[in-house]
Structure formats: C-alpha cells, structure tokens
Symmetry: C2
Subunit: 365 residues, 2 copies
C-alpha cells in the first residue's frame, strides 16, 4: 500500500488499512448546497457563483451515470479545472465499488436516483441561521447508515458542497476549535480573510462566540453550518456503530469529526479520514492541526500524481487547484484496498484521463 | 423449510431456495400512489379512499422506523384490519435484514429516508394516460438495482401501492395476458366487475385493445399502469443481471413479470415470486394461472397461520382480508432463509403481535 500515505496517527491508520484490505465497501456521496457559496471569491466549485447550485448534482450524475445531465460537460473551476468527481468515478469503476447518493438539501435535483432526507438548501451563514431541520435530517441519515452497514464490510462517505470549507470553519469556530487559517480551499490562493470575515459575521448574527456551541453541534450546524453536515453526520453515526467508516474529504471532515465527537464519541474508534496528497501538501491549510484538537483519528491520503498527465486540467491539481472533493481521495484508497493493491495510482490516472477526454468533448458551457 | 410452500414450478423453486439459504439479502420496498385507488370500492388499502394516499408512506415509515409518522396508528382497511407492513417489519427485525425504500411517485412524502427517482403520482387509469416519465424512471431504478446488487447476495423487492391489482390487470390485459377474474384483492370480496370495467375504460381511452401492447410494456404502464411499476421493473432488471431477486408480492408480480419478459427475458432465470399462503388460497384469484401464461418462474409462499392469533385484526387475514402487501410474504421467506430456518412462522406471529399491540395503542384515526 505504498500509494496510501499515513499522514496522521500512523499506527492506528496502518491497522485501519490492514483491517479493510480485500473487504467490500460501499461509497456514499452526500450532497448539498449553501447560499454561502454565492459570496464572490469564496468557492471555485463551479465556473461562477451561480453555477455552484449545479455542481453537486452534476458531480453525482457523473458518478452514477458516467456523464452529467443537468449541465453539459463536467463541473469546472472558473479556470476550467475539472471536478474531482472524475477521480471518484474512475476509482469506483476500476474496483467495481457500488455507490449511493444522499441529498442533504438541494436547489437543483440531480437526474439520477438519490436518497431524500427532507433537508433544505442552506442559507448564507452570515444570517446566523443557515440550516433548517438539522436534528430530523441527522435522525433520518442515521437510519440510512444503520441499514447500509448491514449490507457491506465498510462505508466510504464523500461529499460535494460548494462553499463547504467556509461552513466547516463556521462550525469549528462555534465549537471552539482553532481553525482560523487552517481550512483548505478549492483555489490555489486560499481566501482565508474572506472566509474568517464571513464566519465572524455569521457568529455575530447568531449571537454566539468562539466555543459557545462546543457541546451543541446541531445548533452550530443550524447557525453557521451547511446541509451536507447533518446528513453526513447521521450517516456516519448510524453506520460506524457496526462497520468501519472512511470519511472521505479534506478539512471539512474535521468539522464532521468535531460534530460526531460531541454527539457519539465512542464510534470515532471505527473511523478514519481519507483524503488526497494535495490536501496534505497544501501549505495554506492544516488538516492534521485541526484533527489533533478533536480526536485521535487516523488521516490517510492517496498519493496521486498528475504532474505527468497529458491534460493541463489535471496537471493543475499539482499546482493546488481543486485538491479534493466528491470523496476522491477516499474512493481511491478504497479502490486500492478492494483490489488488494492490484489497482495502481497510474491505472487510476489513465482511467481518469480516458473519461476526461470523452467528457470534455461535450463541454459547451 | 417446511414453512415455505413451493406453489408453482416446484423444482426451480427448490433450487432457488437452496441457493439462497444462509445468504445475505437486502429488502427494497417500492412505493407509489395512483388516483385509481380513489374509485370507491376498488381498494381496501386505507380506511377510506382519501387515506390511500397516506398508506404507502405510512407503510414504509413503519418498516424503517417502527412506527408511522404521517398518520397515527397504522394503515388499516375500512374494517380496521392492519397493514401487512407489520409482517414485513417483524420479519426484517427478527432476521436483521436491511431495508431501503424507493419512491415511484407519491402525493405524501414519507418522513423517513427514501430513494427519489423523479416519478410522479399516477392518474386514474380510466384516463388512458396513467403514468408519466416511465422510461426515465426505469433507467434510474436500473442504476439503483445495479449498485445494490454489488452490496448483498440477493434482493427481495416488495411494493405498497393501493389500487395496484387493478393497474396490474390493466397492464396484463394491454399486453394480451388473460387475467380477467384472476388478480387478487385486499378485500375478501374481490370487486372483479369494477376492476374490469375500470381497466376497459382505460384501454378505450388509450385507444388500445387486449394485447395491443404485448411488445410495448412501457407504453402499457404509461396508459393503464401505475408509478410503482417502472421503479420495480428497473430495480429488478438492474439487479437480477448479477444477483437473484425475489419479487415479493401477489398477483401484481405477474404484471411485473410480463413487463420484464418483454424487456429483458434473459434475467427471469434469476427471479422468483415470493408471496403469502393467503394469496394461494384465494379462490377469487389465480396467481399461478397468470404466471403460467408469462414465464417459467417459481412461485414460493410463506405458510403463516394467524388463525390462533389473540388479535381479531390478524385473525381476519385467515378470512381473506389484506392477504399480502409491502413484500410481506417475501420478507418472511427471506427471514427464514437468512436464519437458516431457525426463525419459525410462530416466532414471526409473536413478533407481529407484539408490534401490533404496541402500535394500536396510539391508533386514533
């Protein structure tokens, strides 16, 4: 497993990986949208802020169906760098891993099957009143997690929500975790100032301060979080009681970790974070630095290398564009584990390039 | 497996059962509504025709959550006989079988997680234009079936849609299968005349005759079917290519069989129908008589006996009330198979009675 980096909590991470080798996973992708992503300059998960409402739905259409339906081509950043859903799709396809999509709250419904939990799109966190129905969505997602845990050996849970690192920062600060300047970004130039300012406006509007909601994570989500969070949290809590769960994502996962620690700390022993090398090498973020404040959970990362790709859009990942999303890192880790290491990161790159060249021919946005 | 009756195609049925013994199933419940159920006297799947819109959602709430949310108590017939969801719930609980809910088209959304396929509620089949978006829903359901088939050893698929035997008759006649007087009913007195009259009005309105749509099952659904059908069909087609599928239901399953035979006959070898003894002993219906016209698929039935139940509402099943629904028969068969026969039909009855007495205390409808 040379291609999987043990980035934090090395020994626990090694045990986690050994335990899952050759086992049967299910990949679940939790999607949602928040008006926070429409703040200019905050998210690159869409060609422009208006298109961020389409990104999660287009991502999961690509994931389950092999191409997007609600947009032409694939989601791209303003610079034209393609979505990490391409990576996730390639990993699941090569390792024949089943996938399921779960909505936490959307504006644009994907034209593929998805699990509805009764959640709504998130409001701009500067309102201090970002997410409705948090507790109910957590409860429904728990039921999904409990049931899915009876079908496979472990779960890999990814997410797609533009603006998600800002809402993660919101929840982390509301819960008293020092995350300023530590959350990642889909842009090479992480707009930390803008994120902090946005979160502080939300905390002020909600009448809370750093740490006020350390013991009330559901209220932290309701005030300054996003609708992906209650769905993701419930899913992990429901499943990790029975099977291991690989939480697939970047610094947003540290917010989920904090939420779970406040609700069900005992299940954290059955979890790990799975991400990409590009999150680790991001000098403008500090995933391990946040995780270390929360829980003793391993951080694993797939060592993908796009520097020799024939596509500039993929090479850009090496320069810090996109980095992670749609559970790309975790899906690659699961593909390697399921294949008992017979799938290489090079095979992944070739599969990604194949899909990319096919899909970009139809890109007319 | 004394408690499972080999009702039709005995040898194939025996092989099917032997093959699944001790294996790991997933139960999927496909729900939908049709305005056809509002024709007075056509359905007993609700206290009155208006309540039939609530029945499927209440059924799956009971299934996943242990009690109904969108109504108090549980769905009952006009005579107060409770839903077979009680049987399904007991079977899944005793054998620890995971469940998932899939909507084909609803008026009242269940307050539990469910898979959305983009379908709509069905219109009265007398319009001859009963179901929208049939092909798209089949395609989306296929994706679900393909993915779920990678998680477990086999699928059990049940349904809940009031008015479903009338729409089944519609599709069967449109496809040229002699089913007049052969479909079952949730009432002891099967209103065959009313059903036939309803279907004939639908066929007339659609400008079709007996057998016109033998090779166009999707149009048969669109004209005189219901929104459960495309979802159920796609799910079976997607899954049965890879794993066995037990189609859990009564005479409605013969319509699904006919649809699948016209679309993907090669997968029928990987299917069986699982139902209840009460469907077999229904002198006013003929499941085997319909199946025999369609395909060489086994019919299996659970030999539940409620004649000594302490509850009149359950005893009424022995007099021909309800009979089947929510995949009750197939869920019991799967429970017995999964437990390698350690779960008895008596244990099932005790579990059903326990749940029934708890739930009826809150019945205030």
């Amino acid at each position: 497993m040379n291609n999987i980096i043990l980035a934090y909590n090395v020994n626990k991470g090694k045990t986690f990986l050994e335990h899952l080798k050759g086992k049967k996973p299910l990949f679940a992708c939790v999607i949602g949208v928040t008006e926070t992503a429409k703040i200019p300059g905050i998210s690159a998960a869409g060609k422009n802020p208006e298109l961020t409402y389409y990104t999660p739905s287009a991502d999961v259409e690509l994931l389950l169906f092999g191409k997007c339906k609600c947009i032409s081509g694939v989601p791209v950043t303003p610079e034209g760098i393609p979505t990490p859903a391409l990576i996730t799709r390639a990993a699941l396809k090569l390792a024949d891993i089943p996938a399921i999509v779960i909505s936490g709250g959307l504006k644009i419904k994907p034209q593929i099957p998805f699990i509805e939990l009764g959640g709504s799109p998130g409001r701009d966190i500067r309102t201090g009143n970002a997410v409705d129905n948090v507790e109910e969505v957590v409860e429904r997602a728990k039921v999904v997690g409990e049931n899915l845990a009876k079908t496979v050996d472990y779960l890999v849970v990814g997410e797609s929500i533009p603006g998600g690192t800002t809402t993660a920062l919101g929840v982390l600060l509301a819960m008293g975790i020092d995350a300023e300047g530590k959350v990642s970004s889909s842009m090479p130039n992480n707009p930390h100032e803008l994120k902090i300012e946005t979160v502080k406006a939300g905390l002020r509007a909600a009448g809370i301060e750093f740490g006020t909601l350390a013991k009330d994570p559901l209220r932290a989500i309701a005030c300054v979080g996003d609708p992906m969070m209650p769905a993701f949290t419930g899913l992990v809590i429901g499943a990790a009681d029975k099977v291991p769960v690989l939480m697939a994502g970047g610094t947003q996962m540290s917010a989920i970790l904090a939420i779970i620690k406040a609700l069900n700390p005992e299940i954290l022993d059955n979890t790990a974070i799975g991400t990409t090398k590009w999150i680790l090498s991001d000098g403008k973020a500090d995933l391990a630095g946040i995780v270390a404040q929360v829980a003793d959970v391993p951080v694993l990362a797939i060592n993908l290398d796009f520097s020799h790709s024939k596509f500039e859009g993929l090479k850009a990942y090496e320069a810090g564009a996109v980095k992670e999303g749609v559970g790309a890192g975790g899906a690659c880790i699961a593909a390697i584990l399921k294949s008992a290491c017979s799938i290489s990161t090079n095979a992944l790159l070739l599969e990604i390039e194949k899909a990319y060249s096919q899909l970009m021919h139809s890109d007319k946005r």
